[in-house]
C-alpha cells in the first residue's frame, strides 16, 4: 500500500505495539500529528507542558515496565528540550525512542527557521540516532531504532524526520526481521570463562555480590536470588538495582557507596572476591579507586564490554546477559556456607544501620520510612535528585524490581515527577509516589497540568527543607557552612555563615496553593504526628496529590564517604 511518511510512522508504532506517546507538536511535525489524531483510539497521546517532561515520562514508562518508552517533539527548540531526558536515559541504559521533526531536506544546513542539528546535538547522549533522508528508509529505520533501543545494553535512540519525508509517499513495507551487520549483541557468556568464575567462587572465603541495573534490564532477579542463596553470599544493590533483591533477606546489604550502607562499604574493603553483575564501578560506588577493595579479586559480568576494566582492572570478565550467565553459572557453583564472613557482616550491619534521630521533629527520613511501611514496599517510588533521593534509596524498601526509579548516572533534578507520570500511565493499578525536594520539583512542576488533565493519580511528597539540601550539606561539611546559592527563600540564595538555616516565612511558591491552582489536591504537613494519617488519607484520593512536608532544614544524609575518600573512611554522623 502506498502511504505517506506520517502514515508509515503510525503503522510502525502500531507494529511495535506502542500504546502511549508523550510529546508536544510544532511546525515540523504537523504531518505526523495529523495522523496521531486519526490514531487516537489506538495510541494514547499525552500532551505534556515541556519536551523534557515528555522525555522523562517515556523514561518512567520504560523503567517501570521494561518496554520501550516513546516521545515526540518538533525540530529546533523541541529537540533541544529533549536532550536532558535523553542524556538521563542514556546514562542509566533505559530503552527510549524519541522522534523529532526536522526542517525539509532541501533546507537542512541553511539556518532555516527552527533548525538545529538534532543528530549532532544528541549524538553523545543517545545509544544511536538516525536522520531519515528518504521516505523509503523510514519503516526500516523505525524498526531498527526500537531494536537498538531494547537489545544489548539498552539505551535511547532518536529518529529525526524532516517534514518533507513525513509528506512523501512510498509503498509501506514492514521489515519482519532486523539484521544490522555491525550490531550483534552477545547474550550468552563464554563457557570457559563461566567455569573459571565458578572455580573462583567455589574457593572464595569472603565473597560479595555487587549488582547493578543490568539485573533489572535483563530481568534476572529470580536467578540472582538463587545464586546468592546457593553460594551464601551477601548482595549489595546499587541505586539502579534497588528492589531486585528481597528487602528483608538476611543476605541483603542494600546500597553501597557515597551514601551507602556502612556494612556494604566495609564488605567491599574486606572481601576476597567481588562478583559484579550488570554494575559499572561508578565513582559514587567505589570511592577512592586506589584504595578500593584492596584484598579482592574481581569478576565482572556485563553485556557491555566497554564497562569491563574501565575503572577497575578485572580478573575475569564475562561478556553476556546477566540472566543467561547466572543461569549457566548456577550449574557450576557449589553450595556454600560462609557463616564466619556473614557474622562479620552482621556485626557491621548492627553497628551502623541506616538510621535517623527518633525524636518528635519532622524528619524527612521518617516520612519515607512511613511510606515504605504503609505501601508495604509495593508502590513504585520515583525520586528527584539530592538528599530526597538518597534518603529514598536508604529507607524505601521496594519488594520488586522496577519499583524504585531514580536518575542515577546523570543525577537529573526534575526527573522524578514526569517519570512518575509515565510510570503511573504504564501501571494504572499501582500506587506511584514521587519523593521530591522543593528545589527539584520546581524543575518540571508545569507537568502538574498534564497530570491533572489526564487524571493521573500520582502522589508528590515534597520534603520541603527550604533549600537545595544536598548542596547545602556539602557546604556545611566542606565549605565551613558558607551557604552560597542554596537558600530557596533568598534572591541570591546566600546566607551569611553565622546565620543558622531557619525557614523563612516566605513560601515561594506555596506548593499547596500551587497544587490547587492546577486543580490538584494540596496538603501541608508540619508535624510528625500528622505524617501517617496524611499519607494514608492521600493514598486514598483518586487524584494528583501534592503533599508539602515542612521538614527539618538542616538534616544531613548519613553515612557519607566524602568525595575522594576510601569506602572505609565513611562518616556516620557529624560529631
Amino acid at each position: 500500500m502506498i502511504k505517506t511518511g506520517a502514515e508509515i510512522f503510525i503503522e510502525c508504532l502500531l507494529k511495535e505495539n506502542v500504546k502511549v506517546l508523550f510529546g508536544i507538536p510544532g511546525g515540523q511535525v504537523l504531518p505526523i500529528f495529523d495522523k496521531i489524531f486519526d490514531a487516537r483510539d489506538k495510541i494514547k497521546f499525552v500532551l505534556t507542558r515541556h519536551e523534557q517532561g515528555a522525555g522523562h515520562m517515556a523514561d518512567g514508562y520504560a523503567r517501570s515496565t521494561g518496554d520501550v518508552g516513546v516521545c515526540i517533539a518538533t525540530s529546533g527548540p523541541g529537540a533541544a528540550n529533549l536532550t536532558t531526558a535523553l542524556a538521563t536515559a542514556n546514562m542509566d541504559s533505559i530503552p527510549v525512542v524519541a522522534f523529532t521533526g526536522q526542517v525539509v531536506t532541501t533546507l537542512i544546513g541553511n539556518d532555516a527557521f527552527q533548525e538545529a542539528d538534532t543528530t549532532g546535538i544528541t549524538r553523545p547522549v543517545t545509544k544511536h540516532n538516525f536522520l531519515v533522508k528518504d521516505v523509503k528508509d523510514l519503516a526500516r529505520t523505525i524498526r531498527e531504532a526500537f531494536y537498538i533501543a531494547k537489545t544489548g545494553r539498552p539505551g535511547p535512540v532518536l529518529v529525526d524526520i524532516p517534514a518533507d519525508i513525513q509528506r512523501a509517499t512510498t509503498e509501506f513495507v514492514w521489515p519482519e526481521k532486523v539484521d544490522i551487520r555491525s550490531y550483534k549483541p552477545v547474550y550468552s557468556g563464554h563457557i570457559g570463562q563461566i567455569k573459571k568464575v565458578a572455580d573462583m567462587i567455589n574457593s572464595a572465603k569472603q565473597p560479595l555480590l555487587y549488582v547493578g541495573g543490568g539485573i533489572v534490564s535483563s530481568d534476572a532477579s529470580t536467578e540472582l536470588l538463587k545464586l546468592a542463596e546457593k553460594i551464601h553470599t551477601p548482595v549489595t544493590t546499587t541505586l539502579m538495582a534497588i528492589g531486585c533483591f528481597p528487602p528483608d533477606h538476611p543476605l541483603n546489604l542494600y546500597m553501597p557507596g557515597m551514601h551507602g550502607n556502612y556494612a556494604a562499604n566495609h564488605a567491599f574493603q574486606n572481601c576476597d572476591l567481588i562478583i559484579a553483575i550488570g554494575a559499572r564501578f561508578d565513582d559514587r560506588v567505589t570511592g577512592k579507586l586506589s584504595a578500593f577493595a584492596p584484598k579482592a579479586k574481581i569478576i565482572h559480568i556485563d553485556i557491555d564490554p566497554t564497562s569491563i576494566s574501565k575503572n577497575v582492572m578485572v580478573d575475569i570478565p564475562i561478556v553476556g546477559d546477566a540472566k543467561n550467565v547466572i543461569t549457566e553459572l548456577l550449574k557450576y557453583v557449589n553450595k556454600k556456607n560462609n557463616k564466619d564472613w556473614l557474622k562479620k557482616i552482621s556485626e557491621w550491619q548492627k553497628a551502623n544501620p541506616f538510621s535517623y534521630k527518633k525524636d518528635n521533629k519532622l524528619r524527612p527520613q521518617y516520612i519515607i520510612d512511613k511510606i515504605s511501611e504503609i505501601t508495604k514496599g509495593e508502590a513504585i517510588v520515583v525520586t528527584e535528585v539530592g538528599q530526597n533521593q538518597m534518603w529514598s534509596a536508604q529507607f524505601y524498601k521496594p519488594k520488586y524490581p522496577r519499583h524504585f526509579l531514580s536518575s542515577g548516572g546523570l543525577g537529573t533534578m526534575g526527573y522524578g515527577f514526569p517519570a512518575a507520570i509515565g510510570a503511573k500511565i504504564a501501571n494504572p493499578k499501582k500506587t506511584v509516589i514521587d519523593i521530591a525536594g522543593d528545589g527539584s520539583i520546581q524543575m518540571n512542576i508545569q507537568e502538574l497540568a498534564t497530570a491533572v488533565l489526564n487524571n493521573i493519580n500520582v502522589k508528590i511528597v515534597i520534603l520541603n527543607n527550604n533549600c537545595l539540601g544536598m548542596v547545602r550539606q556539602w557546604q556545611e561539611m566542606f565549605y565551613k557552612k558558607r551557604y552560597s546559592a542554596v537558600c530557596l527563600a533568598k534572591p541570591n540564595g546566600c546566607l551569611a555563615s553565622e546565620l543558622s538555616f531557619k525557614r523563612s516565612p516566605l513560601m515561594i511558591p506555596d506548593f499547596v496553593k500551587l497544587a490547587e491552582a492546577y486543580g490538584a489536591v494540596g496538603i501541608r504537613v508540619t508535624k510528625k504526628e500528622d505524617v501517617e494519617n496524611t499519607l494514608i488519607k492521600a493514598l486514598k484520593i483518586e487524584k494528583t496529590v501534592v503533599m508539602d512536608f515542612l521538614v527539618e532544614e538542616e538534616e544531613n544524609v548519613f553515612p557519607m564517604v566524602p568525595a575522594g575518600a576510601a569506602l572505609d573512611e565513611i562518616i556516620t554522623s557529624l560529631a
Binding site: T119, G120, R123, P124, K127, H128, L131, I148, I180, R181, S182, Y183, D304, P305, T306, S309, K310
Partner: protein, 158 residues
C-alpha cells in the same frame, strides 16, 4: 605508543563524526585519518593513526567497537602489516637545483607529476619513515606546499 587502527564502517553520513567525537571527547589528537570505500561500496575503511595512553586507548577502541555503524576494528600494534602514505610536494626548483632534485626523486623512486618554471610537484608513496627521509632531503630546496593522504594499512598474509 603509536597505534594504527583500521576500521570497517558502514558507508553512511555521520559515521566519521561519531568516530571523531570519541577521540575528541578524550582530548586525543588524531595523527592521521584516511577514509575510502572498500570493494563493497556499502562499506568504508578508515585508517586512524593515534598516539596515547594504552589504557585510555583500549577504552576508546572498545567504545569504537560499540558504535552501531562500526563493523570491525583492528589495531595493528602487534600485527604484521603494511603501511602506506601518499605525499604530494611542491618544491622550489630553478635551473641550478633542478638536476639535484631529480636525482633525489630518482633515488627515492618518487615521481615528478608537474613541472613549471620555478616549481616541481613530486609524488611519492611509502611508509612514514621513507616519506620523512624524502622530506628531509628536499627541505633545503624550499618546500612550498605539502599534501598527504594519511596512512592506509593492511595486515600481511591471509
Amino acid at each position: 605508543m603509536r597505534h594504527t587502527i583500521s576500521v570497517l564502517v558502514e558507508n553512511k553520513s555521520g559515521v566519521l563524526a561519531r568516530i571523531a567525537t570519541l577521540f575528541a571527547a578524550r582530548g586525543y589528537n588524531i595523527d592521521s585519518l584516511s577514509v575510502g570505500e572498500t570493494d563493497d561500496p556499502s562499506i568504508s575503511r578508515m585508517t586512524i593513526v593515534v598516539r596515547g595512553d594504552e589504557k585510555i586507548l583500549e577504552q576508546v577502541e572498545k567504545q569504537l567497537n560499540k558504535l552501531i555503524d562500526i563493523i570491525k576494528l583492528n589495531d595493528f600494534l602487534n600485527v604484521e602489516h603494511v603501511e602506506r602514505d601518499l605525499v604530494l610536494l611542491k618544491v622550489k626548483a630553478d635551473k641550478s637545483t633542478r638536476n639535484e632534485i631529480l636525482q633525489i626523486v630518482d633515488i627515492f623512486r618518487a615521481k615528478i607529476v608537474d613541472v613549471s618554471t620555478n616549481v616541481l610537484i613530486i609524488e611519492m608513496t611509502g611508509d612514514e619513515e621513507k616519506i620523512q627521509a624524502l622530506l628531509n632531503m628536499l627541505k633545503p630546496f624550499g618546500i612550498k606546499e605539502m599534501a598527504r593522504t594519511g596512512i592506509i594499512a593492511m595486515a600481511r598474509g591471509g
